[in-house]
Symmetry: C2
Subunit: 446 residues, 2 copies
Amino acid sequence: MEMKERLQGLIEKNQLGMLRMRLEALHAPDVAELMEACTRERALLVFRLLPKERAAETFAYLPPERQQALIDAMRAGEVRQVMEHLASDDAADFLEEAPAGVVKKALDGADRERRAQLAALLRYPENSAGSLMTADFVELHDRLTVGQALDCVRKRGPRAENADVLYTIDNTRHLTGAVRLIDLVCAEQIHRVSDVRDARVVSVGTQVDQEEVAAAFRRYDVAQMPVVDSEGRLVGMITVDDVLDVIEREDTEDMEIMAAITPQEKPYLSIGPLQLAKSRIIWLLVLMISATISGRIISAFEQVLQSAVMLTAFIPMLMDTGGNCGSQASVMVTRGLALGEILPKDALRVLWKELRVSLIVGAALAAVNFARILLFEGVGAQVALVVSLSLLATVICAKCAGALLPLLAKQCRLDPAVMASPLITTLVDTASLLVYFCFAKAMLGL
Amino acid sequence: MEMKERLQGLIEKNQLGMLRMRLEALHAPDVAELMEACTRERALLVFRLLPKERAAETFAYLPPERQQALIDAMRAGEVRQVMEHLASDDAADFLEEAPAGVVKKALDGADRERRAQLAALLRYPENSAGSLMTADFVELHDRLTVGQALDCVRKRGPRAENADVLYTIDNTRHLTGAVRLIDLVCAEQIHRVSDVRDARVVSVGTQVDQEEVAAAFRRYDVAQMPVVDSEGRLVGMITVDDVLDVIEREDTEDMEIMAAITPQEKPYLSIGPLQLAKSRIIWLLVLMISATISGRIISAFEQVLQSAVMLTAFIPMLMDTGGNCGSQASVMVTRGLALGEILPKDALRVLWKELRVSLIVGAALAAVNFARILLFEGVGAQVALVVSLSLLATVICAKCAGALLPLLAKQCRLDPAVMASPLITTLVDTASLLVYFCFAKAMLGL
């Protein structure tokens, strides 16, 4: 914090020598944060003080608008240098967001090979393994000796995004295995790569969804993973830093969908109120309209309520408890599905579990509720019984619906998170009111 | 899937030679999954077919009960071998969970140094950087030449959990920087380590909370990070695979707390119904009791309802919409706080944003609602106006409360997730009913 203010001071006073020295001690994300807090002119000034490689690294951490403004403001030679040193996946991410004019300027100085590489990366569908991968990796031919392989690593490794694990290929560029750099360093120079590599390498296809990629990283505890095309040929590598971003985004998305929000790409504070309102209103409208079904049920039983208005007082408690029970079950099942801990085929096991849970929970809540009404509400035991039995039935409905709907969604290839709390709350409301009024009518003879 | 069944077949038919060969092609987590699906005797049989190092690796992926059963069933010599090859952080995790008898057996064959190392790891508080780190890393003294450093890596690297980045220390074991193995491989042998290392290394203290560790990994895009004690001396290293686990656990925990569930350590399907019921009932009770406040409000306005029972029909819609609006705001703010995108000092900015959002959303919903009531409900324009104005007020209350309560919780060093949907729903219910009845009383002259 203090550091940042001191740097801001140096920028304002134009003490460039001192500033350059101070910048050297900073990491790329910290420099990017500093630049974001400056005006565009000052950000360019800071950017120009950075050594070439660090400038490109920092560029990758800036938000798209800032990247585009920088490219816009730089000379052709500067742009070429940034683009040259930018990791290929970061370059592709930038190009994807940029308007045509900026793209043209950014690619003007690039050689043919680089253009082809970036064009290839840009062709993969969003959220696929192909769109996450980098083309800056080191591949080793099986036939090389360890000594030759190390020479190859020395030549290409420093440019690669990560050269800790090297992937091995055969004559047809098919992925044959992986070898850790440390194992190459430790092996005898005259061995063949094919003798030291591990053939048990986990890879993903270019078309695989990023959620599956994240699951594979989690399962196999790796820091990078090779990407192969549909024929098994090595085409790229995914590094774990990008997977961390995917997990953060996916989890945020799930939480937002579960709270009836259309997911947003940007952080909360940088979304305008109109955009925020848009992301929230659709579901609110849908849910508001469907909540009128509960209203219809109440209207239908107006006669019952008219003769016993005190029954109305228990409606909020019934509705809230039902909603809460439903979201507990749906959130646990949705998360279990997302992590692969629950599969659609487990539906019956889940239902059986929730049935038992809801009996225990429902009975306990109903008992407490019965006692509370008798002691504090000053109504008869019959009313207390009606409310408590309705509560038990509501809890059972809520938990079973909460558990089954996400599973059903998954089975229909919808996002299970859509079935979470708000939708289930609305459903459960209807069910609980119906049960409540029917019980009241039958047991109180209204 | 098919592979697993074929392996199960080999186990049943006791075809050990074939089984051993097949196991060689599997990764440790896959072998662990296979063992989990077997009886304990068969799991032990599979385990004994694995080469020593892979056996230890597989051991780390087994759930605690399975680990304890294996150690229990193995001979002293076998136990020693597993414990020797187990990464120190995995060994510490296992020892932490195991009962005294198993711990004694596991440590019986360990030498003094290893015991001291594990004891040190076990001393760190749960969820701290110290409890996540491994002691199996390679440190290089600044004074070494690159050639000497590579010799050191060759000797100790293969035993380390990760030797892709090596940490450098001075005479007093203080962390001075980091050097990538690839840079050592590329450097001139006669250079000093101090010439090739990068002094800008991000480290964490042993006492730092795991959420902060995860945030640092996310921010700096690293695959491992050194851990230092309070005096800045290098004591361990955290690898990104453990951070992935932390993020998964923390996100699950946040989702569970937001759905009023006491967080559970185990995956859904392996938790018994009684345990599940216990994790859910506390919050349900608290919320059920607090929902009776809404009931009290309704009782207090019984007179109003008696004279206009049709007002009851709009209660569910008002309550549901208020609850949904509140959870939208609270989930976005809670997630923003968890990711460090929102800080408590942003409270006013957040409030201002939510106020504008709620005006837009509230006005739109109220308008739709007004039209709908007039067109389909067959009640007067005055009633429609009361309901719509109450709706607007409810939306504003809900969004502001939903945004502010998590911020308040954070400020008071509570978990912001506790303030999410269910608690806010209960609060908003009370507010919306109060507003509704007051408006009705005043505007309809009841």
